[in-house]
Amino acid sequence: MDSMPGQHETQRPADFLRQILGRPAVVKVNNGAEYRGNLVCLDGYLNIVMEGTEEFVGGELKRRYGDVFLRGNNVIYVGPAPAK
């Protein structure tokens, strides 16, 4: 039992989200656009508020937002911004 790979590292979605809160994050939405900014808060529908956000479409910076609310149904994934 104790030899199970990665057993101790099990992480539920709620834990994961709590961990990345208040940190730089990347959110990908249905239409392929990507949002990079500070993750301010989110709810169970995966509605997300980010600040200082940049919008990338096809790898190209399209727009900047001070604060932005992303509707959860369009969110494909959310994760910590990869270290540069």
Binding site: V40, C41, V49, L61, F69
Partner: protein
């Protein structure tokens, strides 16, 4: 043995998570947008800029004095060139169904405009 996905635990994701901000949950940002100028991105390459007069939990909204921008790409019949066409129109008062909404952003807190 622990289980990663018990419903009781999972249900807690239905609450809001906040990163030490004045915003307790995402909809708080939308509430702050009331009576303010907002930028709204909709499905189908549509954008609205207007004043937010109302919304509900589905993000259905009523926006006043709005300008809508619709972007469409077309292929030129002759040259086969890709043309991005933007059409703009004024919408004095419009109800927007929430399921088409991708994002909403208050313009008064916007740090930088589009490039």
């Amino acid at each position: 043995m622990q289980s990663a996905g018990s419903a009781a635990e999972g249900a807690s994701t239905n609450g809001a998570l906040t990163g030490g901000s004045i915003l307790g949950e995402p909809s708080d940002l939308v509430r702050l947008c009331l009576d303010e100028l907002v930028y709204v991105k909709l499905r189908g390459e549509r954008e609205l800029v207007g004043r937010l007069h109302g919304y509900d939990q589905h993000l259905n909204m009523v926006v006043g004095d709005a300008e809508e921008t619709v972007m469409s790409t077309e292929v030129d019949e002759e040259t086969f060139e890709q043309i991005v066409r933007t059409r703009k129109r004024k919408l004095p008062l419009v109800f927007v169904r929430g399921d088409t909404l991708i994002l909403i952003s208050p313009l008064f807190r916007q740090s930088g405009a589009s490039r």
